[in-house]
Symmetry: none
Subunit: 291 residues, 2 copies
DNA sequence: ACGTTATAATAACATTTGTTTTGTTTTTTG
DNA sequence: CAAAAAACAAAACAAATGTTATTATAACGT
């Protein structure tokens, strides 16, 4: 019951986000991206984390039709306890912790990495992936846009995906800016962009150009709310946070592999034949080591 | 982190349960059986649900060594938010599977991605990672070798790692074969190679050259046994198998992020300062999008 | 049985949390 | 540009939550 209400609230927030004034919008974005923390924290904690006053939270609750802030937060709390009761997939991590010492550090690292992967897979629904796959399969051209860290992800996607799809283009190539490639895009094309907050300006420029040209935008980001101004056709969300000094993209990587899987599936017989052909050609060309 | 503390507390409660007096025992049983509710509810709610007074809960907290009831409950709260974001991938996959048909294939994809990450982290012990990190930190130069799919992994490792380590070199560069770079390697250097069966001949050539020059070889592979002829100094193993037509490198990716984490940890203060400096320079240079 | 100690409930207290009020700033409208 | 309306933060207020003190009860040893 609570689950449903929670998702309905998030849906409403997402839809009405654009019409909200400054503070309420910041709250809505925070709630959309951090439903668990929002459910757990007190009104003061949430307010200070978001950077607004407490009664801004109360006003948003009233605006959404709730009598009190309590009623607004309640569905998020129920969702928390509901999700906690189901399976413990990562029990082995806890056992690691028991051993202490280096194993404990390993448990921390594993928790963080595993958490991002499972979160990415759980938050993304199969329909979004399927829709993205269909878009990509139907597109005339697919531009892959990313800079810095996520560029490696795009490279991987290109390397595997081009076997199935002859129409992939990595956007920043030939020492160009990404936007230079997107100039040739049109409404038959798809742009797949990967970036996390704070967004790379180059990537955003490319996304905006893509929308202007009428191409469909598939965005992989760590925040659904922050990406709304770009009006993506599909948004695939994965967390990137770690307890350390850099961001973790393993969640994105997992999503990309899932997307590749679905692409091959939906591509049908001929795609699978193409893959087989590639592999055959490679071993003929003495690309593999013989022991 | 919270997950782990929570399970330790529950373990303690379970063990000492028999020695507790009546009220404390009732509380302990309740907490063991209803950790989620206990984490969510207020002290009065829990007390009335259990049928004891509020300060019985406080006494139990003190008995367990906590300063306050808050500290006693905190791990359970953290575990709640943690499980909401990462806990029940298994359940979610199970639901997909129930639907049958195409949904079942998608469940398989998610299962295999998750499984590869889990196995990679579980099979690799912390000592190997720590040893690899020390080798890399002490090396004069570190050559990163990979071709095709894994090249994206090396690119990512380079992108993040060069912030901490100024001595990284991607081996296949300037349209060279990997082995061309390795020609300059010596016994003070380390070669980090990534490849899965069947091994890329180019990568293997580079590895053999590295050994001949006296450099230490760190190999990431899907098989420890098959890599033995290369006499690697350290072998990091992750499965790459999927039920589909291509290999999954998400396990390697997870291992690399773990290695990066340990590198930053062991690199100490100056490495962390370098990372901060990089980030500052980037935002100064208008590389990030302002909303 | 008696006194002592441990355990527990009640109630008083202090802190935190949610709500409402007030005044100021920002935005909108004429 | 000025007036009105909306949005907001700060602070006052009330309710809840957590903590401590007091008192009563149960368990234990001599």
């Amino acid at each position: 019951m609570g689950q449903i209400h929670k998702s309905r609230i998030i849906e409403q927030l997402t839809g009405e986000l654009a019409t909200y004034p400054k503070s309420l919008r910041r709250i809505a974005m925070y709630v959309i991206d951090n439903p668990a923390e929002f459910g757990m924290d007190s009104i003061r904690d949430s307010a200070s984390l978001i950077g607004v006053s407490t009664n801004s939270l109360v006003r948003l609750a009233k605006k959404l039709g709730f009598e009190t802030y309590h009623q607004f937060r309640a569905p998020f709390r129920e969702a928390l306890t509901a999700s906690a009761s189901s399976g413990d997939a990562g029990q082995w991590i806890g056992e690691l912790y028991e051993r202490g010492g280096k194993e404990r550090a390993r448990a921390d690292a594993a928790t963080s990495v595993m958490g991002n992967v499972t979160d990415a897979l759980r938050q993304t629904d199969a329909d979004s992936i399927a829709l993205a796959a269909d878009c990509i399969l139907e597109a005339k051209k697919v531009f892959l846009v990313a800079t810095r860290g996520p560029y490696a992800l795009v490279h991987y996607f290109y390397h595997v995906g081009r076997i199935a799809l002859p129409n992939l283009v990595i956007a920043p190539r030939h020492a160009n800016a990404p936007v230079d490639e997107i100039l040739t895009a049109d409404e038959n094309d798809v742009v797949l962009a990967i970036s996390s907050m704070p967004y790379s300006r180059e990537t955003i420029d490319a996304c905006e150009m893509a929308r202007k040209k009428g191409a469909k935008l598939i965005l992989m980001s760590d925040s659904a709310a922050n990406s709304l101004p770009l009006t993506p056709y599909i948004t695939l969300v994965s967390p990137v946070s770690t307890p350390h000094y850099f961001e973790s993209y393993v969640g994105f990587f997992a999503l990309l592999e899932w997307l590749l899987t679905v692409l091959v599936e939906r591509g049908g017989e001929d795609v699978q034949q193409r893959i087989q052909m590639f592999n055959d050609l490679r071993s003929d060309a003495n690309l593999y080591w013989k022991m």
